[in-house]
């Protein structure tokens, strides 16, 4: 069975505090902004993937630990909706995994790496919100965040 198929049933876990502090804030069709009052991401996996990429870019890996590991969703959700983003997450996990290319046959390792970097990304986003509660209130802030990234990293 291919890695992608094996990953499909695996669940990506994240801390409950990040569900409340970030994902619920930015994801969901019922939300706020630009013209119509709506949130920037329509689904949770988008916010999760965004956080994971921020973690990877900033090389911030934080194990989830045992407490508060409440929520999870299947990797297949990203694969079915995000297309290339699911592949990119696996490749990013490959770039960081201590197991090197061997992680390509180790779905648990891939999931673990993605989870820990997503957790790191959540922490970065949370600290930005702590500094300025309205940081991501304007939809333009998401594009600004992209342009602030160093493309050479």
């Amino acid at each position: 069975m291919s890695l992608v198929s094996e990953l499909s049933d695996k669940r990506l876990k994240y801390k409950t505090i990040h569900r409340e502090g970030i994902l619920d804030k930015f994801c969901g069709v019922q939300g706020s902004q630009r013209i119509i009052d709506r949130k920037y991401f329509s689904q949770l996996w988008e916010g999760y993937t965004w956080a994971a990429i921020i973690g990877f870019i900033n090389d911030k890996r934080i194990p989830l630990g045992s407490g508060g590991k409440g929520d999870a969703f299947k990797f297949s959700v990203i694969n079915n909706n995000g297309g290339e983003l699911a592949d990119a997450l696996i490749l990013l996990a490959l770039s960081k995994s201590k197991k090197g290319y061997k992680c390509l046959t180790d779905p648990e390792e891939v999931i673990n790496v993605i989870e820990e970097y997503a957790n790191g990304g959540f922490e970065i986003i949370q600290s930005k919100i702590r500094e300025d509660e309205s940081h991501f209130n304007n939809p333009d802030a998401f594009i600004e965040e992209l342009l602030e990234r160093n493309d050479e990293n």
Binding site: I35, E46, F56, E84, K96, L104, D151, N153
Partner: protein, 719 residues
């Protein structure tokens, strides 16, 4: 006269008693952003003198009408118990300039308003407070006896009338928004009143009245004396009686003519108002259509923004969010290559291992034939040789690169290499896509702002139709019917008045002709004694001459003054407009209608001026009137104005301020046209003598100001 200072205590947004401004000669500027207390400061000047302030939408409102809204909110909020007394006051100190026979006098004008707490209910509710009327005092040192005097009530009001004559004060106290209400140049009486005040015209008018009366009496007396010397006394006296009768009729008709002319003027003013209202109603559909068009444009822009928004979110969640992962993806690629290299090394190793000869196929053949084909000896079934050969079966070791794990990794590596290739190609376009998207967004935001501003200005125009011309556009048809009815009636009244005036004029001409005829008949009657000189007859010749000439002088003086106002106004107008060249032409006051016009060299009216230009023309006339008043009356009045230039651009604003500084000994201009970051630059301008900046203290930045905490402060920047 100079305003030395103004001091405010708990007046509207000014909390406490620490707000004092010391003014200097020259141009004093008070600036600050929106809602920083500028108009309230202007109100303070007006309130201390007149016990009322101008409220947009309500016009002039007295202290009684203002009630506790005059008193600072924070002061009200801080009151702790019943019977607490709060004092609101404004104190203005003015200095008169020394005249030929008088020394300068300093007057301290103070108005005070007290409220006391009735209950501990909501402090912002008027029923919580007992109010009173305001009290006015004027303190000064009497020049005759050097006594310190305090005038109150009527006496104080008279001093103020003397200091700031009500006929000229509308020109001195000038509120930008209220310009049209304060000084209506379309009304013939407006300029006439100002001219009457600043010139000798009323003097000539009085002289004319006196001389006409004297002339009539002297002529009557002359006729009486001549009659006595007449050869036909009876006929002469009869003619004199008829002349007297005609003179009385002329006098009556002149009075009627004057009365009807005044009424005609009033009715014409009313008609102009109705006409203006009707034209406002005609303007409404145009503005309404414009509003619909702008709203449609805004809808289109918002639709486009919505499309871009959807596209952005889609791209963000399918590709853009990967921006910045270039290096990590490169590491992933390196690891894929690392595996390929490893596999390659395993394959190479395979070439060094030829030990699996002979292979299983050959061995099976040997077992089947029970013969060792290598040494060509028999190997019978179940013999030792047979078992030895059989043991060689399945000897082949699978190469390491073909282990299931390596095979699986290899499959994944090949898959992800292909995926990485596609990803990299797409990745390269992310930045340009984001930048192009952002540009489109910004262009649309910019466009939306322009249309929103346009919409605001159309809404303002519509609002103006209501507030300035008193038209309720929402009841368009009904209002139109009413106004049209009023117009028809007024039109009829005006036509009747004109007819009557014509009749009186005709009667006057007729009576004058008849008098001439009667006088000629009288002169034909021979006198009995031609040697006797009648003194009254001689005097009457001069009084008649004087009566005619003084009337001419009055007219000439009047025209001369309008000419002066026009040319003074044009000097300023040219100076101000030369900085931005947005308008050509000159100011002209139409002698018939007294309308202020913008004309070309040939005197033909130009049509391309806007509200800003028209306001500027009016302001130049105001400057000219005050400046001429100073010349004629040998008295200088300070010029104080709030938001005079809100319709002008920056260049014209500063040119206007410079021209004010040249025209007036002292001027106080309250304006929002100078922003906080321009202050340092403005401070350096030589023509500005003093500069003050108003700011809100404890402003939370919320849309709604905290009434309990926020208040205005005054900071001197240059003084």
């Amino acid at each position: 006269m100079l305003i030395k200072s103004i001091k405010l205590k708990n007046f509207q947004c000014y909390y406490g008693d620490k707000h004092k401004i010391n003014f200097t000669e020259g141009l004093n500027i008070i600036t600050g952003s929106i809602a920083s207390g500028k108009s309230k400061l202007f109100d303070a000047f007006y309130w201390v003198l007149n016990d009322m302030i101008f409220v947009t939408g309500k016009e002039w409102v007295s202290t009684k009408g203002l009630g506790i809204s005059l008193v600072n909110d924070k002061a009200k909020y801080e009151s702790q118990s019943v019977d607490d007394l709060i004092e609101t006051s404004v104190e203005m100190v003015v200095n008169t300039t020394a005249g030929r026979n008088s020394k300068p006098i300093e007057y301290t004008i103070r108005r005070e308003y007290l409220i006391s707490r009735r209950s501990m209910k909501d402090c912002f509710d008027s029923s919580t407070w007992t109010t009173s009327t305001s009290t006015l005092t004027v303190e000064y040192v009497n020049q005759k006896n050097s006594n310190h005097e305090i005038a109150q009530g009527q006496e104080a009001k008279e001093i103020i009338e003397n200091l700031f004559p009500s006929k000229i004060s509308p020109y001195i106290w000038f509120q930008g928004e209220a310009l049209d209400k304060l000084i209506d140049f379309d009304n013939k009486g407006t300029l006439r009143k100002a001219i009457d005040y600043i010139s000798y015209v009323p003097l000539y008018k009085t002289m004319n009245n006196i001389i006409t009366t004297v002339d009539s009496k002297i002529s009557k007396s002359a006729r009486k004396q001549i009659g006595k010397l007449s050869g036909n006394v009876k006929l002469y006296n009869e003619l004199s009686r008829q002349i007297e009768e005609k003179n009385n009729s002329i006098k009556n008709n002149k009075q009627l003519l004057e009365d009807k002319s005044i009424t005609l003027g009033e009715r014409k003013d009313q008609m102009e108002e109705v006409e203006s209202a009707l034209s406002a109603l005609a303007e409404f559909p145009k503005l309404s259509e414009e509003k619909i068009e702008i709203n449609n444009d805004l809808i289109n822009i918002n639709d486009e923004l919505e499309r871009l928004d959807i596209k952005e979110r889609k791209r963000f969640s399918s590709l853009w969010m990967l921006y910045g992962t270039k290096k990590s993806l490169q590491t992933a690629a390196d690891r894929l290559i690392e595996f390929e290299d490893h596999r390659q090394s395993l394959i190479s190793k395979e070439y060094e291992l030829p030990e699996d000869v002979p292979g299983d196929v050959y061995i099976n053949k040997m077992l089947k034939n029970e013969l060792c084909m290598i040494c060509d000896r028999p190997a019978e079934k179940d013999s030792e040789a047979y078992h030895n050969i059989k043991a060689k079966l399945n000897r082949k070791i699978k190469p390491e690169y073909l282990t299931p794990e390596n095979e699986q990794i290899n499959t994944e590596v090949l898959t992800f290499k292909a995926k990485l290739g596609t990803l990299s190609r797409n990745y390269d376009s992310i930045k340009s896509e984001i930048i192009a998207h952002k540009k489109k967004l910004n262009d649309l935001y910019e466009e939306r702002k322009i249309f929103k501003d346009k919409l605001d200005s159309v809404n303002d125009e519509i609002d103006k139709l209501y507030t300035k011309r008193g038209i309720d556009v929402s009841e368009g048809a009904k209002t139109h019917r009413n106004k049209h009815g009023e117009y028809v009636t007024l039109n009829e009244v005006v036509r009747n008045l004109n007819r009557k005036i014509e009749t009186y004029r005709a009667s006057l001409r007729d009576a004058e002709m008849q008098i001439a005829k009667l006088e000629s008949e009288q002169s034909k009657i021979q006198r009995v004694n031609t040697d006797v000189n009648v003194v009254e007859e001689e005097i009457a010749k001069y009084t008649k001459y004087l009566a005619n000439h003084i009337s001419d002088i009055e007219e000439k003086e009047y025209n001369k003054l309008i000419g002066h106002i026009e040319s003074d106004a044009n000097i300023n107008f040219e100076k101000i407009t030369s900085v931005n060249r947005t308008i050509d032409g000159k100011i002209k006051i139409d002698r018939e209608t007294f309308r202020v016009l913008n004309v070309n060299e040939e005197g033909r009216e130009l049509q391309n001026y806007n509200t800003g230009h028209y306001t500027l023309m009016k302001m130049c006339i105001i400057n000219a009137i005050i400046s001429l008043t100073n010349n004629y009356k040998d008295e200088s009045y300070p010029f104080i104005t709030d938001a005079p230039t809100s319709n002008l651009d920056d260049k014209a604003t500063f040119a206007y301020l410079e021209s004010i500084s040249e025209t007036f000994v002292q001027s106080i201009v309250i304006t929002k046209d100078i922003s906080e970051d321009e202050i340092e630059e403005i401070k350096q301008k030589k023509y500005i003598s003093s500069l003050f900046f108003l700011k809100i203290k404890n402003d939370t930045g919320n849309e709604k100001m905290n009434r309990k905490e926020a208040y205005s402060t005054i900071t001197p920047i240059k003084n």
